[in-house]
Each structure stands twice: as C-alpha cells, then as structure tokens.
C-alpha cells in the first residue's frame, strides 16, 4: 500500500464503491420509487394530528414551539410560512412522491406522503 508504483485509485476500489452505490439506489427504488402518494399524514411529537388527501387543495397549520403552515396544491405538499430558526422545511420546496416528507426539526413536526401498501403505525390522538 505504501508502494508508490501502485495507482492511488485501484480498480477494486471503484468496484467496491460502485457496489455500495448500486445497493443504495436499488433500495431506494424498491422502497420509495413506486407511484404517487395519496394522503398526507401530519405528526407533532410523533403523534398523528391529521390526515389530508393529496388531491384536494388545502392549507394546514401546525402549532408547536413554532408555527408551520403547510399547503397542498396541485397534488404537491410544501411549507408556505414558518417562523422556525433555519427555515429548512420551507427550503425543501414541494414534494409529491410517496414516502417523501417535510420535516421541521425544531418544531418536532413532520408531514409525510403515504399511500396504498405503506403501513401507518399511527396513534390518533
């Protein structure tokens, strides 16, 4: 390994990295690649607040330590207004794929798109 006649990047390294990348992408395709979502599940501190259908335009406001205003429009979900410190949730933009979620970590809030075939272990509060 300390021999300077060897290449720095060997073929076995590329094969190893490619194998890990392919495994990661295969798992992604299996889990979250299929189909459009149907309902949005809003959770605060792990408890389900509401479930709204994705195909009807609506707005939903969540009040925790901070305020998040979610908007469902044109079958996509996004955060329109928020006063949390870094505004990461708003920067996420619009999501529409099944399994995608928008998370506001300081507020302990998450909005996830679920559909058929995905189990929701939720406790309605």
């Amino acid at each position: 390994m300390k021999n300077s006649d060897e290449h720095i990047i060997k073929i076995s390294d590329i094969v190893y990295t490619a194998a890990i990348l392919i495994a990661a992408l295969v798992i992604f395709a299996l889990v979250a690649g299929g189909g459009k979502g149907q309902t949005v599940v809003f959770k605060l501190d792990g408890e389900v607040l509401a479930e709204l259908p994705l195909d009807k335009d609506a707005t939903y406001e969540v009040q925790g330590a901070y305020t998040n205003v979610f908007a469902i429009e044109g079958s996509t979900l996004r955060v329109t207004e928020t006063n949390c410190p870094h505004q990461e949730c708003q920067k996420t933009g619009a999501v529409s794929a099944m399994g995608a979620s928008i998370v506001c970590a300081p507020n302990h809030v998450s909005a996830t798109i679920t559909g058929e075939g995905v189990e929701i272990d939720a406790i309605t509060g």
């Binding site: 390294d13 990348l21 992408l25 889990v31 990461e88 979620s101 998370v103 970590a105 998450s110 996830t112």
Partner: protein, 175 residues
C-alpha cells in the same frame, strides 16, 4: 517528514489536525445545509482527518480529535443538535474504520466509514425527530456520502504517500 515520537509532539500534531478538522467541519455544515433538507446532516468531509489520524496517530487520538471538533463545531455554528449527530456518527465511523484499517485499502476504508457515518446520522435523525419516515431519504444520502468518502479516501492516500508519513503499526497488520 518524521512522525513525532514523544508525547508532546504527538499532542501538538493532533491539535493541528483538530484545527483542520474544525475548518472542514464548518465548511461541511455550510455546504450541507444548502443541499439537504435535514438539519444537522453533514456530508462527512471532516472524516478525512479522522482517517488520517487513525493511520498516523492511533485510535485514542482520533477519538479525541473527533470529540473536540464536534464540540467546537456545535458551539461555533450555534446548532447544538448537531452535537449528537456529529458525535454518534463520527464515533461509529471511527470504530468501523479502525477495524478495517489493516485489511482494506484506504479508499475502501474511507467509503465504508462514510456509509456508516451517514447511516448513523439518519438513525439519530429518526430518533430525535420521532419520524421513521426520515429513513426514506437514507439511500440518496448514503449515495452522496459514499461519493464524498471516495474522494476523501483518494485524497488521504495521496497525502500519506506523497508526504511519506509513516503509519503506525496496527496490532493485526502484517506489513
């Protein structure tokens, strides 16, 4: 370059590495907050310093550098939640890399350590925000981290060879 033999010089060398790790960690959090929606999730650029410390200084110094850079990064960037992410992910990454260090090449060690780092970050995110749905992001995040791990491993190999820094004798290494 001769690796310092006595304790004080090793300590100073470790401090310099810690400073470099700190700078990389801050750049890392600046880049990662622009790309990823999860706060506290980092690309793992500072793992190159952990890898380098494992090869030249040993496990205890590498761990010390990790703890100090996590603390100072979290304090400097004002985001204390990042502390848990950095510590847990960095510690897991260092343990995995230490176990692999005599057996695989530097790049493979770096890639494996990076995968472990990102997986632990996602796991910690799942626990802290109580949303298992964060796991849906895991494959893409792991893919991004793998690429950065590959680049860091290549860079580390280049550095160790060009500077001819002697690596320490690990207990199970044959050479």
């Amino acid at each position: 370059m001769q690796l310092p033999a006595d304790g004080t010089r090793k300590f100073v060398f470790a401090s310099v590495l810690c400073g470099i790790a700190l700078a990389l960690s801050l750049i890392d959090s600046a880049i990662s907050s622009a790309i990823f929606p999860l706060p506290g999730f980092k690309l793992g650029l500072a793992n190159i310093v952990s890898l380098f410390a494992i090869y030249t200084l040993g496990f205890s110094y590498a761990f010390l550098i990790l703890v100090v850079r996590s603390l100072v990064t979290a304090l400097l960037s004002g985001n204390v939640t990042m502390l848990f992410f950095s510590l847990a992910a960095g510690a897991a990454s260092i343990v995995v890399m230490w176990l692999l260090v005599g057996r695989l090449s530097i790049i493979k060690t770096s890639v494996t350590g990076s995968v472990c780092h990102n997986a632990v970050q996602v796991a910690v995110a799942m626990v802290i925000t109580s949303t298992p749905q964060v796991a849906y992001y895991m494959p893409i995040l792991i893919a991004a981290g793998t690429l950065s791990g590959f680049a860091m491993g290549a860079l580390c190999t280049l550095i160790i060879r060009r500077l001819k820094i002697p690596t320490i004798q690990h207990p199970w290494r044959i050479t």
